[in-house]
């Protein structure tokens, strides 16, 4: 079934013209056209009401809505040329009301890039301590957490990602109520992390923020990956937690480690000194080019399997560390198991969200 663009435009009177594009233009970076069929329509909803109307149109016309941020994941889903509308995450900044300094949280539209969100926070004296190479949107990082979203400084993933708002596959909305934690049943918003858009469309995210201190970046190199892992593990177990840490393959047999520290209190200063001594780190030259993080899934790798994972895949990047291991970035996408696809489709009822295929 093909989408009748005129009909769509008529049925979405609220939506401004610029929200709908013919898809042969594709997303701005041309990413999609390299990976899949040409889609008839790209929608860029600016308001919740526009998203709701688009959702209802999709229900009536049996169209699948596929959300996209910066296109850095490897989501394929059920997209096909006839039935899919590529839905660009809302990226407007009118929702930005500044940080909540008392609660140390901030709400952002899901379509805001990590870099833009960090700039907004920095201007207010805060940071979300992003991964320097993170180039996705906040919504994309919610459903495909990687890089800084596995950051050990925040101790638990849930501590970092404190809330979200989403339009569920049922057409109903859900929004976290700002409370730090809850035991009121399964955490559906947290479950979206890893389930891609199969459960709902994330439109806003809430993050824990920290005061912006002096940012220190140091780098080291070694041929001994096993020894490096042991030293990283010892640092973390002794509560010396980096703001972010990346390990990647260098020239020949060498491995690089980059340690970033937001020095906003005394222990962070001590941590930096301890890490510099333990890992033989040097201050990073401002001109040093860092590797770009690969897109795709992140896979947790226990310490006992890091060496094996490093041998298996060339160009692998690790981040972390956690007490139990590292997180490997840029891994192949995992499909939703067939029975789960059926269950999630049944739960959504409306058939609008992609629940099968690779995530």
């Amino acid at each position: 079934m093909s989408i009748d663009l005129d009909k769509l435009m008529q049925q979405l009177p609220v939506m401004a013209d610029h929200c709908l594009d013919l898809a042969d233009a594709g997303p701005d970076d041309g990413w999609w056209t390299h990976r899949g069929p040409v889609l008839p329509v790209v929608a860029r909803p600016q308001l919740s009401q526009e998203l709701e109307e688009l959702f209802e149109y999709a229900v009536q016309n049996r169209i699948v809505l596929a959300p996209i941020g910066d296109g850095t994941s490897r989501f394929i889903g059920q997209m096909d040329a006839g039935r899919t509308v590529l839905l660009v995450q809302p990226g407007y900044t009118s929702l930005w009301h500044g940080p909540n300094e008392e609660d140390r949280t901030a709400w952002f539209p899901a379509g805001v890039s990590v870099a833009d969100a960090e700039t907004l926070l920095n201007n207010a004296g805060f940071t979300m301590s992003p991964w320097p190479e993170d180039h996705g949107t906040l919504g994309g990082n919610w459903v495909h957490p990687r890089g800084s979203f596995g950051c050990r400084e925040f101790r638990h993933a849930a501590a970092r990602r404190t809330g979200a708002q989403a339009l569920l596959g049922t057409g109903e909305w859900v929004r976290s109520n700002d409370t730090p934690r809850s035991a009121a049943g399964p955490n559906l918003l947290a479950a979206m992390s890893g389930c891609g858009p199969a459960i709902g469309l994330v439109t806003q995210v809430q993050l824990l923020i920290r005061p912006l201190g002096e940012l220190a970046v140091m780098r080291g190199q070694t041929d001994d990956l096993a020894g490096l892992c042991q030293r990283l593990q010892a640092l973390v177990r002794d509560d010396y937690l980096p703001t972010s840490c990346t390990v990647w393959k260098g020239e020949g047999k060498s491995w690089n480690v980059m340690w970033r520290q937001n020095v906003w209190h005394d222990w962070a200063e001590r941590t930096l000194q301890q890490a510099a001594g333990t890992l033989a780190l040097q201050e990073l030259d401002q001109d040093t080019q860092l590797p770009e993080l690969a897109g795709g899934d992140s896979i947790f790798v226990p310490w006992s399997k890091v060496a094996e994972a490093a041998k298996r895949k060339r160009g692998i990047h690790f981040c972390g560390p956690t007490p139990e291991g590292l997180v490997a970035i840029g891994q192949p996408a995992e499909p939703i198991p067939g029975h789960w696809g059926d269950w999630l489709e049944g739960a959504s009822e409306r058939g609008v969200l992609p629940t099968a295929g690779a995530l």
Binding site: P186, D297, E349
Partner: protein, 513 residues
């Protein structure tokens, strides 16, 4: 098992035929024992000489395959199944329907894997917490999860209710420690989740699901090295405003104490022995002769009992008198972990809190730690004395924390004696743990009052923008407020359950689903 043919024995015979390896009982004493968990409402029903709902049988599976057999049988015969761990839940999450199958999982107590290198252990979901902790301690590790029910709750129960231990401020809630789950769905499918991004997402659906989507049979969890150091601090504050402000500053300065416990003025007064030592007497104190409040204990047990009864019968008066006398709030801190980290945090906390309150030294904190399991794991004697006592654990962001505290107090004013302490503290907010009690002339009035107090409290929490439960779960008790809490997510979960469990055999009714 009785030789007389009954509906229960018929079901037992059919289940045995389906899987002869299962251990099954239809004995009346077992069916009565598994008709309850620790929801105080059961005790109130006992006061009314009601023995509650009886399941058809109890089954003790020893493997995931046997759990799957039970679910397949139940689906085929349309019989509800309630997973049962330690029975320590206080919301009715493990209460079976009449004629249901209760699946006691405590025989799932194998240690499948313990990896010191990776800091993880994979354990059967039926392990009793204290037994697991002893086992891990022998290997130099701790599970990091210390609910006050640790002696009578299981790993599976911690997962099912998204539990929190007393040291959660350092170690996290149980869902933070969960790394993977072996899960048996209501159709009998067995699956391991947690190794992929999608699997980690589904683990979030399993945590807190209270048996409505199936049950965990094994859990991979993070373990931590036993702490090198454990340091205590205690402070006294003139007002709650100052005390809460101090807690927030502490948590937003890069510290991560293992325990942060702030007692409100009445709770501080009633366990004035805490300044010397001892857990909160609260009203949950065992009036049958256990540790009574220090300030009242001196007046003699006889006088204490009568004073207590008067206070409970006239909660408005008692609360007013108590709060007239009660002035200060007590804060207990415990830091543990690597030596240098714990020492830095303790010293830094001294610097941060000195402008807010008065230091009381290590004693109160150390004594709390030594007595931390004294009260909660046994049913309060007050219940057997004809009254009720219960706890309501809710959470708010810092910006609404005192507003929420005051709203609940106002809503329950005159209806019960109400104490509170703040624990499970985060950078973004905190949990408030209310304890409340009352006594009425007759058992029926007790139950009406109990339900009314809960309604008032939960509605106040919803109005104030808090969460209705931080770590006890929902069960049957809080089901009616789930739609308010979860908004559209409640309908989604209902659909998900209907799809995964079309016969609706998996612990029906819990979570309001």
């Amino acid at each position: 098992m009785s030789s007389k043919s009954t509906p229960e024995s018929g079901i037992a015979a059919a289940l045995t035929a389906a899987d002869p390896s299962l251990r099954i009982s239809t004995a009346i004493e077992d069916r009565l024992a598994f008709s309850r968990d620790c929801w105080p409402l059961y005790q109130l029903r006992l006061q009314q000489h009601s023995l509650g709902v009886r399941p058809a049988l109890i089954v003790w599976p020893e493997s995931a395959v046997q759990v799957a057999s039970v679910y397949k049988f139940a689906a085929e015969h349309n019989i509800p199944v309630t997973p049962y761990g330690g029975g320590s839940g206080v919301c009715g999450g493990a209460l079976p329907d009449e004629g249901a199958i209760v699946m006691d999982l405590k025989r799932l107590d194998r240690l499948f894997e313990l990896s010191p290198e990776d800091g993880v252990a994979t354990v059967g979901s039926g392990w009793i917490g204290q037994n697991l902790e002893h086992e891990l301690n022998a290997h130099g590790f701790t599970c990091g999860h210390f609910p006050s029910s640790i002696m009578c709750s299981t790993v599976g129960g911690w997962l099912a209710a998204r539990g929190a231990g007393q040291l959660s401020t350092r170690y996290g809630k149980f869902e933070d420690r969960m790394r993977g789950v072996e899960w048996v769905y209501p159709d009998g499918t067995i699956e391991w989740a947690g190794d992929t991004a999608f699997g980690r997402g589904t683990c979030e659906l399993f945590a807190g699901s209270e048996g409505i989507l199936g049950t965990a049979t094994a859990v991979r969890m993070r373990i931590d090295p036993l702490p090198e150091a454990r340091l205590f601090r205690s402070w006294e504050f003139e007002t709650m405003d100052k005390a809460v402000a101090a807690m927030r500053v502490l948590m937003q300065s890069g510290l991560h104490p293992a325990a942060v416990r702030l007692y409100d003025p009445l709770d501080t007064l009633l366990h004035s022995n805490l300044k010397k030592g001892g857990e909160s007497a609260a009203i949950a104190a065992d009036s049958s002769g256990g540790n009574g409040p220090g300030i009242l204990k001196q007046t003699g047990r006889w006088l204490y009992k009568r004073a207590e009864r008067f206070a409970l019968q006239e909660p408005g008066v008692a609360q007013m008198v108590g709060e007239t006398v009660a002035r200060t709030s007590l804060l207990i801190l415990m830091f543990e972990g690597p030596q240098q980290s714990a020492a830095w945090q303790a010293t830094r906390s001294d610097e941060l809190l000195s402008s807010f309150g008065r230091p009381l030294g290590e004693g109160p904190g150390r004594n709390w730690f030594e007595h931390r399991y004294d009260v909660s794991w046994k049913q309060a004697g007050l219940l057997s004395a004809g009254g009720f006592v219960d706890t309501m654990e809710v959470a708010f962001p810092w910006s609404r924390l005192l507003e929420g505290y005051n709203a609940v107090r106002e809503a329950m004013k005159g209806e019960a004696i109400l104490l509170a302490h703040f624990s499970h503290v985060y950078e973004t907010g905190a949990c408030i743990y209310f304890s409340f009690s009352n006594i009425r002339r007759d058992p029926e009035a007790n139950e009406r009052q109990y339900r009314d107090v809960w309604r008032r409290g939960q509605e106040a929490v919803v109005r104030s923008g808090g969460t209705i439960t931080h770590h006890h779960g929902v069960g049957l008790l809080k089901a009616r407020w789930m739609a308010d809490e979860l908004q559209g997510a409640h309908g989604y979960l209902r659909n998900l359950k209907d799809t995964m469990d079309p016969e609706r055999i998996a612990n029906p009714g819990k979570l309001g689903l």
